[in-house]
């Protein structure tokens, strides 16, 4: 697989470190709900199809990239910088 880092361009996925599901949302800091925290830490949708995930460009610019990838075909749909630009589906 080759991922397109928004800053460095197209690179082999070996340069990146996989950081898991990007759609997991940390509960708000004042949340006391065990269920919300449990869901954030442990529960995953694990889709067969489009998966939004974080890859860190460890051997490059060291920023996180939100990658939309098909888990059945390995097709890369998009690579976005993290933050407000990321098109992560909830």
């Amino acid at each position: 697989m080759r991922l397109t880092c928004p800053y460095c361009g197209e690179r082999d996925h070996q340069e990146f470190t996989y950081r898991g599901d990007a759609s997991a949302r940390r509960p708000s800091l004042d949340s006391q709900s065990i269920d919300e925290h449990n869901a954030y830490v442990f529960d995953r949708a694990n889709p067969d199809g489009i998966h939004h995930e974080l890859w860190n460009h460890t051997s490059g610019c060291r920023t996180h990239v939100v990658v939309a990838r098909n888990t059945v075909t390995h097709e890369i749909i998009s690579c976005d910088p993290v933050g407000p630009f990321a098109k992560v589906m909830k």
């Binding site: 599901d21 449990n38 442990f42 995953r44 694990n46 998966h51 888990t71």
Partner: protein
């Protein structure tokens, strides 16, 4: 038909015309007591123990492809119980107990070969950890031996034990009672055993939806020969390994503490006997043994990212083969015969889930990471108990879905909720 030396002789004299298929190809009934989704090792062994231990024979095993077409036929066939944490030790030692008798239990040669599993250590710190693990194993009644470098060299003459090796070997931990089994034979043996006790094995039958009454699962809707039909059951067990996410979504369970990834395995061309046991590399992750046909069977880490593809990427090939050559330099010129991938259900703590629920009428067997093959007998044995009694056996009482939320994960590696590291 009972298999024996006498049966071979008798059939040979009659020109081998009287052999019958190992199991029937029945048409599905409209209702069963228990449905097991997934005709792999765990599903078939569950059906076998439901019938043989609990007397529940009105059972159907529903399989999308052919029996044993998933991970039970894709693994590197290693059977061991060298664990550190008590729940895992007890569970996998139960599996070893069943493995030792399995060929007799099933009247089918699963070629269980307790040839020993050797984990290598490459520095004093690792030797300390191995001594600790070996002691933990002994406390649980599992034999273990801590070996120094000379003992390792005597056991595996092909190993590079010199000080100039890339990762010089200090010693290792041996579980002498661990070993290998013939993986396809395990699936076929359990299938034949279950079939003889009256279980219906429904191949080419895909579950496309669950039947629900309120929240309760009351059966499944299947596609078979291009036709949709309903099969009802009081109890529905799910044992579909890497496809757990897919199947549970149909039941409306869209989040689980499981992620699917791909694990690759490799076989080399056949050579004369050189590895008498199973050897694992301690400075990376590699396990290798030699099949009875002479090919080296080996594998390493999963392809870290989420995947439902039964194929992986090349960087893992490079890593795995370089580790093999670092251990055994004389394998450098061997050619690979083939490689393949299987989809692993990686749990959040690296330990399995065998439980009632998560919905009424449903039972879940999942989260095997990439150690499901050795668990096949105990997994089926415990899952059958759980289904028959609506309650977990002591051996799987801690393998729940709730353990994460309750703060009781069984994290053998201490890696935390990062399924791609387990």
């Amino acid at each position: 038909m009972r298999y024996s030396a006498f049966a071979i002789l008798k059939n040979a004299l009659r020109g081998n015309r009287d052999w019958t298929p190992a199991w029937r190809k029945p048409e599905p009934k409209s209702k069963y007591d228990v449905i097991i989704i997934g005709g792999g090792g765990h599903g078939l062994s569950t059906a076998f123990y439901l019938a043989s231990v609990h007397g529940i024979t009105n059972v159907a095993v529903i399989e999308k492809g052919y029996l044993g077409s998933g991970n039970v036929g894709r693994n590197t066939t290693i059977v061991r119980s060298n664990y550190r944490l008590t729940p895992n030790s007890r569970f996998y030692e139960k599996s070893m107990e069943l493995w030792r008798e399995l060929s007799h239990t099933l009247n089918y040669n699963v070629m269980f070969s307790p040839r020993g599993v050797l984990n290598l250590a490459h520095n004093p710190g690792q030797m300390d950890t191995m001594a600790e693990r070996g002691n933990q194993m002994r406390l649980m009644g599992v034999r273990s031996e801590l070996l120094d470098r000379d003992q390792v060299a005597r056991l595996n003459p092909g190993l590079d034990v010199s000080g100039s090796a890339r990762f010089p070997i200090e010693g290792g931990l041996l579980q002498p009672d661990a070993g290998n089994a013939r993986h396809d034979a395990v699936a076929w043996g359990y299938a034949r055993g279950a079939d003889q006790l009256g279980v219906d094995l429904l191949e080419g039958t895909e579950v496309v939806d669950f039947l629900k009454e309120g929240d309760t699962i009351v059966g499944v809707e299947v596609m078979r020969n291009g036709e949709r039909s309903e099969i009802r059951a009081e109890k529905t067990g799910v044992a579909v390994a890497g496809n757990t996410g897919r199947v549970m979504k149909m039941a409306g369970v869209d989040h689980l503490p499981i992620e699917s990834t791909v694990l690759q395995a490799f076989v080399s061309e056949s050579i004369k006997p050189i590895i008498p046991n199973v050897v694992t590399f301690g400075a990376g992750h590699l396990y290798v043994s030699q099949s009875d046909k002479g090919g080296l069977v080996f594998g390493g880490n999963i392809d870290y990212y989420n995947s439902y593809a039964q194929r992986g990427n090349l960087p893992v090939w490079e890593e795995v083969t370089s580790e093999l050559v670092a251990m055994f330099p004389n394998f450098a010129r061997l050619r690979l015969l083939r490689s393949w991938g299987g989809v692993m259900d990686m749990s959040m703590d690296g330990s399995p889930i065998i439980t009632t629920g998560p919905l009424p009428g449903m039972y879940l067997n999942a989260g095997w990471c990439y150690g499901g093959f050795k668990a096949t007998p105990a997994s089926g044995w415990c899952f059958a108990h759980t289904i028959a009694n609506d309650k977990a056996h002591n051996l799987n009482a801690l393998f729940t879905l709730e353990r994460f939320k309750d703060g009781n994960p069984i994290d053998e590696l201490g890696a935390g909720p990062t399924p791609w590291y387990h």
